[in-house]
Amino acid sequence: MIEIKNITKTYKTGDVEFNALDNISFTINDGEFVAIMGPSGSGKSTLMHILGALDNPTSGTYLLDEKDVSTLSDDALADIRKDKIGFVFQAFNLLPRTTVLRNVMLPLVYAGVHGAERIARARTALLSAGLDENHFQHMSNQISGGQIQRVAIARALVNNPSLILADEPTGNLDSKTGEIVMGTFQKLNKELGRTIILITHEQEIAEHADRILFIKDGMLLEDRTIRKSTPRF
């Protein structure tokens, strides 16, 4: 459960103050698949950074599973990211010259999961992200763009996070591969009950989600429910 209350993020450049987020509030329940939409410069990236515990807001509170994470230190935020959040980035951000399996195991390295359990969990995550088993030992630069993004999804899944944050996950993919990746997200949401927040500027991509939040000039413009989401079991 995510509760954003009156979040404001102010950037200062010299004497000029600029509110990237301006008093924004919303709630996202467990098991929802939400898209955050907006044109560039609307503040959606800033919102993603705060939702992903990569940054602190200037004011307001952010409750993630009833825990206030808006005022935590860098290292405490790292713990939140490690335990509760999985990221999928636009530029795939896999480690180069490293096998698919090792890439997926990386969050477990920092989470202190060792040995056989580490491998087993990485394999499970890869299978649920829809990657074929014979790619597991391939290097991350030997697989296609769609496969890379599914590896990234598996890596986001592997820690059993409360929230998967996807930042323009189809931005670097052609529309057909993009469809497949979005299908993977929907499957994770419907079948595994994962909470997914998708940041995008494309209408068609956003419509894969059950609910769309429109952001403009750092403010929430519209909160539209497309279809009723399946509650988490």
Binding site: L54, D74, D75, A78, D79, K82, D83, P96
Partner: protein, 405 residues
């Protein structure tokens, strides 16, 4: 993060760019190798000088007339000028507990003529104990005997170099019984010494030995001694015996302040060792400059690596790596580089000193302490020069790092 995770990450990162890691490591390899080689050469020189000094005779105390000024060493003491050591002192010293043998000596330079050849060298008047005290051996014939000494005999024993100078074309066996003229007095050759090699300032190779009595009464006409060499039974008793001799001679000479000096081998060794140690330190200091340059190379590479891998750092932070995890990862890359470099450097340094030894210039010694020091220093360099880049990596803001192109 567990140690094996860090190690496998480090291995992956270093092997990803083998050429760069290898070249950076080369700086450390050369630095460590030169330090090891220089120290081994210094140690070799020290050992060779030590064995030369010990070759002069073991557990030796040297009593000289006059006062040898401390710090000026024995070379500039102007010995022979003072006339305070007399024949009667010999028995006093001999009577002291722990003294095995006493070899009184009188040396002076004379012209020697033998069958048309002549040379100017040191003639030393000695007693039979000289052989024991000075640790020398004869190649042919006999040394000065008690009988020769009692009879003020005209017998001479030639050092190896003197023998070839005087009789260039003859085997040493044929020299026995030949006559040489020292200061217009005829002497019969009764023995030839085995060449002892370059033992420095007073090599017996360049000397002619005659009975002490003959030297004092016939050649020089003086009744005092140039020096007394004293052989002590036990190395640990040296200081004790030195004190006892000092006290006995003070009493005998009836003086309050010593008119003689006692020098032990340790004193000579000590001076020379200090010189060599300084020299070794100097060599090692020059070699450490290359080690420092190697360390800067490591730092340079690590800074480049951190910049190159900014995005990776951002990703790692995004998935939960703490500042210290990133710190540790980059620090361990630097330490791994220097550690492997140090290891290879030790092998290379060992090889260099082995080559120096096998060319016969000097028997070098690679000491365990220098190896341990090299290992410590190389790991230390990794930590020192890796710290700043690692800290920079750890401080990166994940948002900026992820955006970095």
């Amino acid at each position: 993060m567990k140690i094996q995770d860090i190690l496998s990450e480090t291995y992956g990162a270093l092997s990803a760019n083998k050429a760069r890691s290898g070249l950076t490591m080369l700086g450390i390899v050369i630095g460590i190798a030169s330090v090891i080689a220089m120290i081994s050469i210094g140690n070799g020189a020290k050992a060779s000088i030590q064995s030369s000094i010990e070759g002069l005779g073991s557990n030796l105390l040297t009593i000289l007339p006059g006062i040898v000024q401390p710090g000026r060493g024995i070379v500039s003491s102007g010995r022979g000028a003072a006339q305070t050591l007399k024949n009667e002192d010999i028995d006093i010293v001999k009577a002291i507990d722990g003294v095995v043998a006493v070899s009184p000596e009188v040396s002076s330079r004379f012209q020697i003529i033998a069958s048309g050849n002549n040379t100017n060298t040191t003639i030393t008047g000695v007693m039979p104990d000289y052989l024991i005290v000075r640790n020398i051996t004869l190649s042919n014939g006999n040394f000065i005997s008690d009988g020769n000494q009692r009879n003020i005999g005209r017998q001479a024993v030639l050092g190896a170099t003197v023998a070839t100078d005087l009789f260039p074309d003859q085997d040493s066996e044929n020299l026995l019984g030949k006559t040489i003229r020292i200061n217009k007095v005829n002497f019969t050759v009764i023995g030839i010494l085995v060449a002892k090699g370059g033992t420095g300032f007073s090599s017996p190779d360049n000397m002619v030995f005659v009975p002490l009595s003959t030297m004092q009464k016939i050649l020089s006409g003086m009744d005092y001694l140039s020096m007394m060499a004293v052989s002590v039974s036990d190395k640990n008793k040296m200081a004790e015996v030195k004190d006892m001799i000092t006290n006995a001679l003070l009493e005998k000479h009836n003086v309050a302040e010593a008119d003689f000096s006692i020098i032990s081998q340790e004193d000579i060794l000590g001076t020379l060792t200090t010189v060599i140690d300084t020299f070794t330190l100097f060599l090692a200091a020059i070699a450490s400059i290359s080690l420092l340059v190697g360390g800067i190379g490591i730092m340079n590479m690590m800074l480049t690596t951190v910049t190159e891998r900014t995005k990776e750092i951002g990703l790692r932070k995004a998935i939960g790596a703490k500042r210290k995890d990133i710190n540790l990862q980059f620090l361990s890359e630097a330490v791994m580089l220097t550690f492997i470099g140090g290891f290879l450097g030790i092998i290379l340094g060992w090889l260099i000193s082995f080559i120096v030894t096998s060319t016969g210039i000097l028997a070098t010694q690679v000491s365990l302490s220098s190896v341990l020091l090299a290992f410590g220093v190389s790991a230390g360099i990794g930590i020192i020069f890796g710290y700043y880049p690692a800290r920079r990596a750890g401080m990166l803001n994940p948002i900026d790092a992820l955006r970095y192109e």
